[in-house]
């Protein structure tokens, strides 16, 4: 427990405000002028679309590596997140909504996520940099709907509404020439085991930093 507390304290300490660029004048923070809001919370809106591999993490036996891809299904991905960086640092708190569609099935996810940019641990503290590696967790409500035609010819529809929690590791690469566009690759864990890989996605996205 003490180790966890130490790690959390270290992460918060390192989640310092973004460094000002050298060619920019230092903002005056004597007031609540908009320029200073970035030091409290930088708002971010991201949308993405792309493809993923739905690995069905959480299935029995899928923690055994050779079985991981046994039922893998390529899925279409859509996502939207609206978040803020407290103190303009390495943490990002977001409201998230996402959808996946695969052969005969759709999954919708809505919830709250908290992520930390691991590069902050190495002194790379510019949120606008071209490269980010984030470790995050999310508490969500998931809705899934699938359709299967049974051996008897009956079309069986299955619906599931379930609270969920998961961890993810995300790599974001931003195009310097088109600063709002990025590529993101994400590995998401299963709900009952953070080392149980549930899906891997690769998406193109659009990001808008509100401040």
């Amino acid at each position: 427990m003490r180790r966890i507390v130490t790690l959390v304290a270290l992460a918060i300490t390192l989640a310092a405000p973004a460094l000002a660029r050298a060619d920019e004048p230092a903002p005056s923070c004597a007031s609540h002028a908009p320029d200073c809001i970035g030091h409290w919370a930088t708002m971010v809106v991201r949308a993405h679309a792309g493809l993923g591999v739905f690995l069905n993490g959480g299935a029995v036996g899928t923690t055994i590596v050779p079985n991981l891809f046994e039922h893998a299904r390529v899925s279409g991905q859509l996502g939207l997140e609206i978040g803020a960086r407290p103190f303009g640092g390495g943490f990002l708190i977001s409201l998230i909504g996402a959808g996946q569609a695969a052969d005969g099935a759709v999954v919708g996810t809505f919830g709250l996520s908290l992520e930390y940019d691991l590069l902050y641990l190495f002194g790379m503290r510019d949120p606008d940099q071209d490269f980010a590696l984030a470790l995050g967790g999310a508490l969500t409500m998931d809705y899934a709907h699938s359709v299967t035609t049974s051996a008897s010819g009956v079309v069986f529809q299955y619906d599931l509404l379930r609270p969920d929690w998961r961890a993810y590791l995300e790599l974001r690469i931003r195009n310097s020439a088109r600063e709002h566009w990025l590529i993101r690759a994400q590995l998401v864990t299963g709900f009952d085991d953070f080392l149980d890989l549930a899906s891997a996605t690769l998406c193109g996205g659009y990001v808008y930093d509100a401040f």
């Binding site: 029995v60 695969a102 709907h145 049974s150 051996a151 529809q157 299955y158 599931l160």
Partner: protein
């Protein structure tokens, strides 16, 4: 590598501990003994065999279901001392790494269902419950969720004469997934490698257990190995597979690694063949797994034949809940849509699409048998295994698969075994495909095969009084400190006395035997808003079995009669004798060939009300609900008297197809003449659930106390019975739940040894009270049954002896135990009495001198706990040897003991026949075998 193990290795690296359990000192083997008795003129090894166990089952189901380990860390393996479960389990999880609330919720839901299947509630362990209370609930013969084969227990079985142990693997992917919580977007997807991985882990554990105790047991890979092991005074362990979805290639890889016994077909239809269609919970499991064997056949339920040779009828299958209004937060199962059910053709509920329902419809019951036999791959596997000297088991196969396996074995001249189950009667149908039909058992025996007889036990119970439907009894919590008198008393109307101390007496009318009848009437009064006039598919359903045969023990005849509205507002359905029955040799339904038969009042085994919504026949939605205010079942005898068999009041309602209210169950004998000295009490709550002990509560108990009317002019007074258990009921009362959680709808029972001089037929009532110190709760009970029961171990011995004589004549030993210990199978629940010490001498060799097994200083007695732990099999044999019950005579007892102590030798001879080192009886494939 499982992720759990990654974490574990990491943690071990941090703290510097070893993950390997410390080996317990080997207590050493017993001196070898050569028996003086010969078997068929040849020397024999000594001891008995168990053909089916699961020593490492805690590693199955992703390690989420069965708590405890067979390995022990004590300094000494003591056959008289059972180590307490350490660490104690958490009642709702049974998962070491469970930290997720989702995980815990899923476990709570699924384990509760399993507890209800076993009719045994999991007592809270490791919370506020005192250790003594948890030990009162464990071990127990009806408990299926805790390890029952600790090394000390195995040691006790060994010292009691066991010399052959079949150690098998098992698992169920679907059950494991339900315990993990639902997958999404699909509830479940089968994984090809899962079963092989699980079997590998379990076999490794079995090998570890054996290697740690190598002085007294060893793994045998051939019959010669086994013989040498036993002749050196040790126990031969034979590795075995009982998995759902291993491919033939998987099986052969395990054979290469030492497996010598294979059950090719387990609980589901797999690539090898069709399983026994005998359990409603296995049907969805089979459906969820079907795409693994044929991707074009997802969600394929059992496909069945209707046959008069089997009694069991598959109900409407269950599947993951879906659709508007039933979106589950966690896994939930509900019946499939009606059009799906119709396509499965399990039942002709719509009465052959007749334009109008007949006024009287009757048929001899036809059961279900799996339509699939062994596949070509399955037959090839059986043949290949036999030719490699591997024992092949037909247990769990359906009738057609068993037939194909027998044909295949006969074609190669090698025998088969059926390791756990029973055998159907020589004449008449088998209860379900799970038991061998008599004809197939004879073929198996004639081919040189052997059998293992299951130890689940039965009671040959006879109902003293029973009633179901609605909320018959309502209980309010009483403080434990004030638990002095009954709140509710259920009384039999055979006894005229009433008890002034009973606040809410309920009278139940027992059945009346020996009455001829002209007519059976079932009448009910609809409750508010209900009517029978608008429902032209509302039937009375009456089950008839010839007098002298126990209900359920032979082919029942079911007659149905349509309800018609009466002028007084009630609804009446009548069946007049004689009834026209469909000839059983014809098609199952709607055949015009009919025979007439009369029945007497004593033939009425049950009566109830069944609703078939007319919309169902066109695939419509089930929406109708019929409330019932009161109902009566009566017969009109030859003298014109109306005899009331049962009455019920309350409000049983239903709104699903086939739902109904059971109103009546038959008592076969005159209760006053019944000699039984034990009774079974069976109740089911219909109201809110009764919580067990938890972190902030000591939970609630339901306590019962039978009443008896003894002697002339008797009054119905409470019996004071010492249950011998440390529970929260006041002295003289019997706890029904050991303070476990009792979900709504749970059915639980207790077995009571009556005081000397009291017979079951004198039981006139039952006191009930609910106690607890938490917030007051009120709940209702919809089933109350009191039955006289017989000693299950004595009955087992009689069945053993009769089956042996029937199949093997005078040859002993070819039936062994087939306990299925640790296989989610309940064991003997009680016995009349068992010896305090064990000192058996058979065939010139002796068992060790053993006292009672104890746990935490408390003696484990078969009478209190049943066959709760494996070592008590020794006590079972000692009980048979002592034949304490009038149900078991000395000669039968002696034959059973003699035969059991030849079962190790007969198992080796069977194996030698499979290997081809001993000649098998000459047989030719039966006519009708596929080429």
């Amino acid at each position: 590598m499982r992720s759990e193990r990654i974490v574990f290795v990491f943690v071990v690296g941090l703290v510097g501990c070893s993950s390997t359990p410390a080996a317990s000192p080997d207590p050493g083997g017993l001196p070898a003994c050569t028996p003086t008795a010969m078997l068929n003129g040849e020397p024999a090894v000594w001891g008995w065999a168990d053909l089916h166990t699961h020593p490492a089952t805690e590693l199955a189901f992703e390690q989420r279901l069965v708590w405890g380990s067979g390995l022990q860390h004590e300094d000494r393996i003591d056959p008289n001392v059972l180590p307490a479960i350490d660490p104690p389990c958490s009642v709702e999880t049974h998962h070491h790494d469970s930290g997720s609330p989702l995980d815990r919720t899923a476990h709570t839901l699924i384990m509760s269902l399993l507890n209800q299947q076993a009719q045994y509630l999991h007592a809270p362990i490791g919370t506020v419950t005192p250790r003594a209370a948890h030990l009162a609930a464990w071990p127990n013969g009806r408990d299926v969720l805790h390890q029952q084969m600790q090394l000390s227990s195995l040691r006790r079985a060994y010292e009691g004469g066991q010399r052959v142990l079949f150690a098998s693997t098992t698992d169920s992917q679907v059950l494991a997934q339900l315990l993990k919580g639902p997958l999404y977007p699909d509830l479940f997807l089968p994984v090809a490698a899962y079963d092989a991985d699980s079997a590998m882990v379990q076999l490794d554990r079995i090998r570890l257990m054996v290697s740690q105790q190598s002085e007294w047991m060893a793994i045998a890979e051939s019959a010669a190995d086994a013989r040498a092991i036993i002749q050196s005074g040790r126990m031969a362990v034979i590795l075995s597979l009982e998995m759902d979805s291993l491919s033939p290639e998987d099986v052969m890889r395990f054979v290469d690694r030492g497996v010598r016994h294979v059950i090719p077909v387990h609980l589901i239809d797999n690539a090898e063949g069709g399983t026994a269609a005998n359990g409603d919970i296995f049907n969805p499991e089979s459906a969820y797994m079907s795409s693994l064997f044929d991707p074009t056949q997802p969600l394929r339920f059992f496909e069945v034949d209707r046959t008069p040779d089997v009694l069991f009828l598959l109900p409407r299958p269950l599947i993951g809940a879906s659709g508007p209004g039933s979106v589950p937060v966690y896994a939930n199962l509900e019946p499939v849509a009606y059009d799906w059910y119709q396509r499965l053709q399990y039942d002709d509920t719509c009465f052959c699409s007749l334009p109008t329902a007949p006024a009287l419809h009757a048929w001899n019951q036809m059961g279900h048998a799996n339509a699939h036999g062994l596949s070509d791959a399955g037959r090839t596997l059986v043949r290949d295994l036999l030719q490699r000297g591997v024992m092949v088991d037909v247990s769990h196969m359906g009738v057609h698969s068993t037939e194909d396996a027998l044909c295949t074995a006969e074609s190669v001249g090698r025998p088969l075994l059926a390791s756990h189950g029973g055998v159907g009667p020589a004449a008449g149908p088998v209860g379900s495909e799970r038991d061998l039909s008599h004809a197939q058992a004879v073929r198996l025996a004639n081919g040189g095969g052997i059998l293992g007889l299951g130890t689940g036990g039965n009671f040959a119970e006879q109902t003293l009084f029973t009633q179901s439907g609605g909320s018959l009894v309502t209980l309010h919590t009483r403080r434990r400190s004030s638990m002095l008198e009954a709140e509710t008393c259920v009384e039999s109307s055979l006894f005229s006395s009433s008890d002034a101390t009973c606040a809410h007496p309920v009278t139940i009318t027992p059945p009346i035997a020996g009455t001829t009848m002209q007519r059976i009437d079932v009448r009910f009064v609809p409750g508010a808003g209900g009517s029978c006039a608008s429902n032209d598919r509302l039937y009375a359903q009456i089950t008839l079995t010839p007098s002298g045969i126990p209900c359920g023990g032979a082919t029942p005849t079911i007659v149905q009669a349509l309800f018609a509205a009466q002028t007084d507002g009630s609804c009446l359905a009548s069946v007049t004798m004689p009834v026209d029955l469909i000839d059983a040799s014809g098609p199952p339904m709607c055949d015009t060939r009919a025979v007439s038969r009369s029945f007497g009042a004593a033939d009425v085994c049950g009566a109830g009300i069944v609703m078939v919504n007319p919309l169902d026949c066109s695939g419509g939605t089930l929406t109708t609900t019929i409330p019932i205010a009161s109902a009566t079942v009566s017969v009109l005898d030859d003298g014109g008297r109306a005899l009331v068999l049962a009455t019920a009041t309350g409000s049983p309602t239903w709104n699903t197809l086939g739902g109904g209210a059971g109103l009546y169950g038959r008592m076969q004998l005159d209760p006053l003449a019944d000699p039984g000295v034990m009774i079974g009490i069976d109740v089911s709550n219909t109201g809110i659930e009764i919580p067990g002990a938890g972190p902030s509560s000591d939970g609630y108990d339901v306590c019962v106390r039978p009443r008896a009317c003894h002697g002339a002019g008797c009054t119905c007074t409470a019996l004071v019975i010492d249950s011998g258990q440390d529970d929260d009921c006041a002295p003289g009362w019997i706890s029904l739940n050991h303070r476990g959680d009792w979900p709504a709808g749970s059915q639980v029972n207790a077995y009571v040894h009556l005081p000397s001089g009291i017979v079951a037929g004198e039981i006139c009532g039952l006191d009930m009270v609910m106690v607890g110190d938490g917030p007051p709760i009120t709940t209702g009970f919809g089933v109350v049954t009191v039955q006289s029961i017989h000693d299950p171990i004595s009955l087992w011995a009689n069945e053993y002896d009769a089956t042996r004589a029937d199949l093997f004549g005078t040859e002993p030993g070819r039936i062994a135990f087939g306990t299925d210990m640790n296989g989610l199978a309940t064991q003997f629940a009680t016995t009349l009495s068992s010896p305090e010490t064990i000192d058996m001498s058979v065939h010139g060799c002796a068992t060790s001198h053993l006292g009672r097994m104890t746990v935490d200083g408390q003696p484990l007695r078969l009478e209190d706990r049943g066959l709760g732990t494996y070592g008590m099999l020794t006590d079972v044999l000692a009980t048979i040897d002592a034949h304490p019950s009038s149900d078991l005579d000395a000669a039968t007892s002696a034959r059973v003991i003699d035969s059991m102590f030849f079962s190790a030798e007969q198992t080796l001879r069977f194996w030698e026949r499979v290997e081809g080192t001993r000649a098998s009886p000459p047989v030719t494939p039966a006519a009708g075998c596929r080429p």
